[in-house]
């Protein structure tokens, strides 16, 4: 199989409300910066394009269609789209390169969650006959999961508050972060509960924005002369939708994906985990067996800003940034989809030449 490298990554600032900017206006500046970073002109200079978005965030069928207009697809391009986080668009692009139908690809994701009521909107991804009619929102389901963790004595509310405190502190070094600052675990614990046992700070904010990445065969990356990180493994797994049949205090599918992706073949310097709720970072850290050797969410993670449909890809982009900046040799990135961490993807990134 051909080795594949990440050559460029850019994202917007993560903002609570992008105002009158539409999705194309969110995407275009990021694409421009990504092309500039890779030293190419536009989407015509890559062999394949794949994006991730969700119609229900935009409130219209075919959210991705106008995204294609942002690409300069004249003459026509080889292009595809997943109704998933763009981390899975990356997965599709990797398959395309592995099969030899492309040597390079542009991957992007975007979401403008601010116009709707995101937790309520996400209730409509549940079983349409038995669960969706109850309008169980995503925060309430996560609260049930956190309650299980607390009652089984696996974590304390202080452990959760420490995750939040570290996220905000780390985010001070992330120019794109939405929420950042010095808040102590005590400050978090002093907050009222929002959906018990979760406090507002335990939940990721609602955010708008986009991100984009260019990947290529290692040969192509070397020809471009760019610093790169090699994607040495990537895999994903989904679990049952029936919450009552899952152990919500663990993430079996994350562990399976990490094993298939070869996470344990070396030291993990950095891990960017898509944990929309503080207790979920603890579930993921345990499921992956990460210890003090690994720095978790140095960007602040999605508790500092959550680009729906792009947060998974941005986790991968954050690890890429650490590697090409020389802060890490090897890292893992995680993406999730569905209620209570139902579907999980893990990518392993390693330092390439020039990085």
């Amino acid at each position: 199989m051909r080795d594949i490298a990440i050559c460029a990554y850019q994202q917007t600032d993560i903002v609570s409300d992008a105002g009158a900017q539409n999705e194309v206006e969110l995407i275009m500046p990021v694409l421009g910066r990504t092309f500039a970073q890779a030293g190419i002109n536009n989407a015509q200079d890559v062999d394949f394009v794949c994006s991730g978005s969700c119609d229900y965030l935009q409130g219209a069928a075919f959210a991705f269609v106008l995204g294609v207009d942002a690409l300069g697809a004249v003459p026509p391009i080889k292009e595809s789209h997943v109704e998933m986080d763009a981390a899975w668009a990356l997965y599709e692009a990797i398959l395309k390169i592995r099969m030899g139908h492309a040597n390079s690809a542009l991957v992007y994701g975007f979401g403008k969650s601010s116009p709707g009521e995101l937790p309520i909107v996400l209730s409509q991804q549940l079983d349409p006959y038995y669960l969706a009619p109850l309008w169980v929102d995503s925060i309430s389901l996560a609260a049930l999961q956190a309650r299980l963790m607390l009652e089984q004595g696996l974590i304390t509310e202080r452990d959760m508050a420490e995750v939040v405190s570290r996220s905000r502190r780390n985010a001070r070094n992330n120019p794109h972060a939405q929420l950042k600052g010095d808040i102590s675990p005590e400050d978090v614990l002093a907050e009222e509960t929002y959906v018990s046992p979760l406090r507002k700070s335990d939940c990721c904010p609602v955010s708008d924005g986009a991100c984009a990445m260019i990947i290529a065969t290692v040969d192509q990356a070397q020809a471009w002369g760019l610093p790169y990180a090699v994607i040495s493994g990537i895999d994903h797994c989904i679990e049952t939708h029936n919450l009552g049949m899952r152990d919500l205090t663990d993430s079996v599918s994350t562990r399976m994906a990490a094993n298939h992706a070869g996470m344990n073949a070396g030291k993990v310097d950095v891990a960017e985990l898509y944990a929309p709720f503080s207790h979920q970072e603890l579930i993921l850290t345990r499921a992956l067996g990460l210890d003090a050797e690994t720095q978790v969410n140095p960007s602040g993670g999605v508790l500092a800003g959550n680009l729906m449909m792009a947060s998974g890809l941005s986790r991968i982009g954050e690890v890429f940034n650490r590697i090409v900046n020389g802060e890490a040799q090897r890292g893992i990135a995680h993406a999730t989809s569905g209620p209570c961490l139902q579907h999980n993807l893990v990518a392993v990134l390693e330092k390439g030449e020039n990085a």
Partner: protein, 387 residues
């Protein structure tokens, strides 16, 4: 460079207006189980599931793969959800094939569906957007002016569309899975059906269907061990062009021409009419047959309608290049599945397993899908022989 891959199992549901007896999960599972039976396989033999459908707003379920994983035996496996507008059924098959052609997986299940009876497509396609002109039109209203422009350019006689409508329904009458069963349909009946969007009459339009289609795609080694003949994937291509581009030719889109050129080049085809035995092409409104005959290079520009009028595309008239022997989209249209049905019906033909709508001795077939306002195309060529 890609690894070889082949279709080793195909499963469909009976297409109909309302499947009130099954849920969405029941519908996709029925197609998947039929595909597993066809391949003589069980759930444990599947390494990953790739699912496609048209916009989530049709049924009102966001990212339905999350809910459908149990019904598709996917727990503990990778699940990918493709969405590329109406071409999605075809794109999904190509993405599924890439799972195998990349050497990443040995055998995958792919499923596409639409349960239109639990949806309102017209509403989903027309909800107004801020900062945009409100396009209060379904697909027919969108395509009608493009068809009129084709008629103007080509000087085609007015009854070409009527002829296609009759031909595809007579084909559909040979396919027990087809939604519309109209073995006695006549040109007169189509002509007298009411005008929906001039020049598209009611009987020149596709129906609104519930249905699902599934395929199992395997690598070379497993395909050679399969109990029934495999349909080898000889080429696959996708193309997209912008919606808002002044230079766009919506009658004969560049993306369609490029996509066809790419897939034919991969399959070593220089003259598609001569070298292909059969084509399953996405024709939701009758006039799209002559338009796509030209776009795909089966006829010179301006002359696609002559093939239709000569009976070249009719299985029943013994035409040299039957188009849509299954009855096509004009006979069954579960939107998100319609592209995959084209791909699967092409595979059935080269497997020699198409029942009463079999094109005798078919060895090489085209499956085609398009979507959006004809900006999105996906195609594959399948053959009875290994490339």
């Amino acid at each position: 460079m890609a690894n070889l891959a082949a279709v080793v199992g195909i499963g469909q549901t009976k297409y109909t207006t309302k499947r009130t007896d099954v849920s969405i999960a029941g519908l996709v599972r029925e197609a998947a189980v039929n595909a597993l039976k066809d391949a003589d396989l069980g759930w444990d033999d599947i390494d990953a599931v790739i699912i496609g459908k048209a916009p989530d707003m049709f049924e009102g379920v966001i990212m339905p793969e999350i809910y459908l994983t149990d019904a598709l035996g996917c727990n503990g496996k990778p699940m990918l959800r493709v969405h590329t507008a109406g071409s999605v059924g075809g794109s999904t098959a190509l993405v599924a094939a890439s799972h195998v052609q990349s050497g990443t997986f040995k055998r995958v299940l792919t499923v596409a569906f639409e349960k239109q009876s639990e949806s309102n497509a017209m509403w989903a396609l027309s909800n107004p957007q801020p900062f945009s002109t409100h396009l209060n039109a379904g697909a027919g209203g969108y395509f009608a002016p493009i068809i009129r422009e084709y008629m103007r350019r080509s000087n085609a006689p007015y009854d070409v569309g009527i002829k296609v409508a009759v031909k595809d329904r007579l084909h559909g009458a040979r396919n027990p899975l087809a939604h519309l069963q109209k073995p006695d349909i006549t040109m007169k009946e189509v002509e007298e059906s009411f005008m929906l969007w001039d020049p598209i009459r009611f009987l020149e339009s596709c129906p609104s269907s519930d249905g699902a289609c599934a395929m199992i795609i395997a690598n070379e080694e497993l395909a050679e061990q399969a109990p029934k003949s495999p349909a080898w994937i000889r080429g696959g291509a996708m193309r997209s062009e912008p919606t808002m581009f002044a230079g766009r030719d919506e009658v004969n889109p560049q993306a369609g021409r490029d996509c066809a050129a790419d897939v034919f080049q991969q399959a070593g085809i220089t003259d598609p009419r001569k070298e292909l035995d059969v084509a399953e092409v996405y024709v939701p409104f009758s006039w799209y047959e002559p338009m796509w005959l030209e776009n795909l290079g089966f006829a010179p520009v301006g002359e696609g309608w002559k093939l239709t009028m000569d009976g070249a595309t009719s299985l029943i008239d013994g035409g040299d290049i039957p188009w849509n022997p299954s009855g096509g989209v004009l006979s069954s249209n579960p939107i998100g599945a319609s592209g995959m049905i084209r791909f699967a019906e092409a595979a059935r033909q080269v497997r020699g397993d198409a029942g009463d709508h079999q094109v005798a001795g078919a060895k090489l077939a085209l499956g085609h899908a398009y979507g959006g306002g004809a900006q999105f195309f996906s195609m594959w060529v399948v053959g009875s022989e290994k490339p």
